[in-house]
């Protein structure tokens, strides 16, 4: 799985950092998303999916390996 971020759409609601802190943080400058790992290990795939579902601005896109 790969994580892609559409950074311009982010409004810093923090659902990502709350639900998948291993993968996402929020910048101290403007609160927007900081991607920590764009190739999450399998055990973090579920949290990546939850973060993508809960993000209110469709910032997080997951590309599943086929």
């Amino acid at each position: 799985m790969r994580i892609r971020i559409d950074h311009d759409r982010c409004r810093g609601a923090g659902q990502c950092a709350l639900n998948a802190p291993e993968l996402f943080d929020q910048s101290d400058d403007d609160g927007t998303v900081v991607l920590l790992d764009d190739r999450p290990p399998p055990e973090l795939h579920d949290s990546a999916r939850i973060a993508a579902e809960l993000c209110p601005n469709a910032v997080i896109r997951l590309v599943e390996d086929s």
Partner: protein, 410 residues
């Protein structure tokens, strides 16, 4: 064949159970998920009751959040020229790109990390109030002793608003939350709050502290290379008012109504007591189940938009019912059930899209400290009156209880 338009009806507001939204929502969601709504200003618009449609509209930039152009479902406030001027900084009612500028400036003060860092201070505040409750009770009114003062003190410290002034601004704010407020009272409260905040901004310019308002004045954002950050006094006062109001009765009502709901669902409370680690899930479920923004939020179509097979015309207002969406069986199994262990809770209690609540991580942090501490301190906590005697906030824009008389064994 001509399809007859069902007549427009006003927004349903009468509850038959204190924890459930009005029954009509269920029927509408099943039969007419986008229905004609009659507004008090005489116009007609639309009511959305499905989770999917509510999310779609709140994430759609063809809809505007401009409250001054919207029809409002319960009471159409009279807008004076000075009210138009005073909306600088009120990001909840602004659209991108104006909205984006303010939101970018503010977001970094409300990140998950910053709010978690407040935990020790919030624990202290919660403990002080529990100690005071123990001294003076039982019985006690949880709203006055606990649910309101805690978020009030927290947001005051965060903004740099003197808590000692609460007697004034809490009064103005609760006037503005009344559904049946008269224009006269609303003007007086709005003006008083506006003048108070403008004065405070002037004071902070002269005597800065290290709280949020002073930091915004100092233009911390500019120092970080964010563009165009010098804020006028009007803008600062607008931001200050919005945060003070939004930070107060929201969490306060969640704490009091949440406690009431848990006391009425002892099985769920027992689960929470036995597994304190489950508090995060329980909070999301209480947010969903109670949906204190009980009449939803409004958007105005900027152009004709198709939703759920209907055409919303440019200029029409859509009411997105957050409480109906949060009970949608398509999204939530057994939606009428309070289930503190519910997983992947995609509720819209904080809204959705670019306006999704700025203060949500603060509200979560306050609740994850306050609920467990309250229930741990008082293992025998229970209602001190019959449930029918608990006064519900049917008459306020934010739902909750006006009072919650509680007792416990000493």
């Amino acid at each position: 064949m001509r399809v007859t338009q069902p007549a427009a009806a006003p927004l349903p507001t009468r509850r038959s159970c204190p924890f459930d939204p009005p029954r009509e929502y269920e029927h509408l969601r099943e039969r007419e998920p986008i229905s004609r709504l009659a507004f008090p200003d005489g116009k007609t618009g639309w009511l959305l009751t499905r989770h999917e449609d509510v999310r779609a509209v709140l994430a759609d930039d063809r809809f505007s959040s401009d409250r001054l152009r919207a029809s409002l479902p319960l009471r159409q406030p009279t807008i004076r020229p000075e009210d138009v001027k005073a909306r600088a900084g009120m990001l909840i009612s602004l659209d991108p790109p104006e909205h984006t500028r303010y939101r970018r400036l503010l977001t970094r003060y409300f990140t998950v990390r910053r709010m978690r860092a407040l935990t020790p201070r919030i624990e202290q505040i919660v403990d002080d109030h529990l100690v005071a409750m123990e001294r003076s009770g039982p019985p006690t009114d949880l709203v006055r002793a606990f649910a309101l003062p805690i978020p009030s003190l927290v947001i005051c410290e965060l903004l740099g608003v003197p808590y000692a002034d609460r007697g004034m601004f809490q009064g103005w704010m609760s006037t503005l939350l009344r559904i049946d407020v008269t224009d006269e009272d609303a003007f007086a409260a709005r003006d008083a709050l506006k003048d108070y905040m403008l004065d405070l901004v002037t004071t902070k310019r002269a005597h800065p502290d290290d709280a949020l308002l002073s930091r915004l004045i100092a233009g911390e954002g500019a120092a970080q290379g964010l563009p165009d950050t010098a804020l006028s006094d009007q803008e600062l006062a607008g931001i200050g008012r919005l945060l003070l109001v939004a930070g107060h009765e929201t969490t306060a009502n969640m704490l009091a109504l949440g406690t009431y709901a848990l006391l009425r669902h002892p099985g769920q409370l027992k689960l929470l007591r036995e597994r304190p680690a489950s508090v995060d899930r329980a909070i999301e479920e209480l947010l969903r189940y109670l949906t204190i923004v009980q009449f939803g939020t409004v958007r105005v179509a900027r152009e004709d938009v198709e939703i759920a097979g209907r055409t919303v015309r440019a200029g029409e207002t859509v009411v997105a019912s957050l409480s109906a969406a949060n009970r949608d069986p398509e999204r939530f199994a057994h939606p009428a059930r309070l289930d503190v262990a519910r997983e992947l809770n995609q509720h819209v209690a904080f809204g959705h899209g670019v306006h999704q609540c700025l203060g949500q991580q603060l509200a979560r942090t306050e609740m994850r400290v306050a609920f467990p501490a309250l229930f741990a301190r008082f293992p025998t906590l229970r209602l001190a009156v019959d449930p029918e005697r608990v006064p519900m906030r049917d008459d306020m824009f934010l739902y909750g209880v006006h009072e919650l008389p509680l007792t416990w064994d000493r």
